[in-house]
Point group: C2
Chain length 252, copies 2
C-alpha cells in the first residue's frame, strides 16, 4: 500500500515530509490521530505531539493522548489550554445534547451540532506556532473527509489553503521555508484507517473516541456506544473485520 | 480621507463590510485596535470585541480592552484564555528580556524577540470561530505593516490568504457566505492612525501599548517608555503633532 499517496500535500511538501527529521503531530487521543502518530513514527520522524484542553466535556481523551504519545515514541507531548467555550455553538463544549443512535448514513450532509466552529483552523494555527519554535518541517493532522463529510474544516481544500496561509504567517515562510501540512488519512475510510494502524502496531484499546463517555470509579471511562463518533468507530471495526477493543457502557 | 481605501480586502469583501450590521473586532487594548473599533463603530457596525489572555506578562492591556470596548460602544466583549506559553519562543510570554531604547529605524528588518509565533494566525482563527457563531460578516484587526514590518503575520498577503482559508474552514464558507477580514490600518503610519483615532474620538490615554509596564499601587500601570512599542507610540504622537497622553515611568 502506497501510504505516501494518501498524504494530502503537494509533491514538494511530500518530499519535505519524507526527509523531515522533526514534526508536530496533533494528537486528540482518538483513533485517527493515534494512527497518524504511528505513521509519522514509522517514517522515522522525530514527533512532538500536542493535545488541546479546549473545555470539552470529557477529560478521558486528554489522558489517552498523553499515554499514546509516550507509548508510540513521541519525543515530547504538551497540552495547551484554550477555552473554546468563549466561542460557543457546539455540543462538545456547551450544554447542547450530543445526538445518539444515528447511523453513518444519517450523519451525512448536514453539519452536526458536535462541530466546534473553526476548530481545526484554531488547532492547526497553534500547531504552526509550535512548529515555528521547534523549527519543525511538517505538521500532521488526522482529519478525514470520508466519515466527517459534514465538517467544513476536514476538507482537502481547507488543508491546502491553510498550508499557504501558515507559510505567510510565520518567520519560516518569510525566510523561504515551508511547513508541510500533512493529512494522510483524509481520503481513507474508518476501516482503512484501522487496518493501517493495526499494521503499525497501534493498540486501539488505548484510544478514546466517544463524545459522551461515562467515567468509572476505578479510573478511565466507558464509551457511550451511541454518539456519532462511537457509531463510526464501531462500524469501522466491523467493516475492517477485526475485534473492537473499546469498552462500551453496559458491555463487558 | 478615503478610509475605505485603506481596508485590506477585495471589492466584494468591502461591499460586504459596508453593509455588515455585525462584526467581530480583535481588541488588544492598544492604540491600533482601539482605533479600529472606533472606525468600525463610525461605520454603524454592531461590534463584538474579543481580547486574548495569552499568558502575556502584563495584565494592563486586558483591563484596557474591557474599558475601551464599553466606552466605544461595542455590543459585547469577551476575553478568551489561551496559554501561548505552551508554544514558547517570545519575550512577551517567556523570560526573554524585552529590548529597550531602540529607535524605529533600528527595529526595521529583523523579526523581534517580542514576536509571538503565529499569534495573529491564532487570534484570527479564534475570531473566525466567534464570527461563525454570531453570524457576523466581517472581522476587524488592527495590524499594521508599516511600523511592524518585522512581523510576518502583519503583512497584507497574510491577511488576504487568511480570508480565503477561513472561508474554507467554516460553515458560512460552505454555504456560500464569506467572512471579510479587514485590516484598515495596514498601510497607515502610527501618526496617521493617531490622527484618524482622534477624529473618531478615541481617548488614547485609555489605551495600553507597553510591552513591559510597571504596575502602580493605586491601580493601573505606567508605560516603560523604552520598549519598541513605547518608542513607536511616542514617535507616532510626535509625528502627528499632538500631545502624548501616556503615563510613562519617571514622568508626571
Amino acid at each position: 500500500m502506497a501510504l505516501i499517496s494518501s498524504d494530502h500535500a503537494s509533491g514538494e511538501a511530500l518530499d519535505l515530509a519524507r526527509h523531515a527529521d522533526r514534526c508536530v503531530v496533533l494528537l486528540s487521543g482518538g483513533l485517527d490521530s493515534a494512527t497518524v502518530l504511528a505513521l509519522a513514527r514509522s517514517r522515522g520522524a522525530e514527533c512532538h505531539t500536542v493535545a488541546f484542553d479546549y473545555g470539552q466535556r470529557h477529560r478521558a481523551e486528554l489522558i489517552a493522548a498523553e499515554n499514546l504519545s509516550r507509548l508510540l515514541g513521541a519525543a515530547s507531548h504538551r497540552t495547551i489550554a484554550i477555552d473554546l467555550r468563549g466561542i460557543g455553538g457546539s455540543a462538545l463544549t456547551d450544554d447542547i445534547p450530543v445526538p445518539k443512535g444515528r447511523t453513518a448514513l444519517e450523519m451525512g450532509g448536514a453539519i452536526p451540532v458536535t462541530y466546534v466552529p473553526a476548530r481545526n483552523l484554531i488547532f492547526l494555527s497553534l500547531a504552526a506556532g509550535i512548529a515555528e519554535v521547534l523549527k519543525a518541517k511538517a505538521l500532521y493532522i488526522g482529519v478525514n473527509a470520508v466519515d466527517y463529510s459534514g465538517y467544513p474544516d476536514c476538507r482537502p481544500e481547507f488543508i491546502a489553503s491553510f498550508e499557504l496561509t501558515a507559510a505567510l504567517a510565520t518567520q519560516a515562510g518569510i525566510q523561504g521555508g515551508r511547513l508541510a501540512v500533512l493529512a494522510p488519512l483524509i481520503s481513507l475510510s474508518k476501516a482503512q484507517i484501522i487496518q493501517l494502524g493495526l499494521r503499525l502496531g497501534v493498540d486501539y484499546g488505548l484510544t478514546h473516541s466517544c463524545y459522551d463517555p461515562v467515567n468509572v470509579p476505578e479510573g478511565g471511562a466507558l464509551a457511550c456506544g451511541g454518539c456519532d463518533s462511537c457509531v463510526l468507530r464501531r462500524e469501522g471495526f466491523a467493516a475492517a473485520g477485526v475485534p473492537d477493543p473499546t469498552r462500551y457502557v453496559g458491555r463487558s
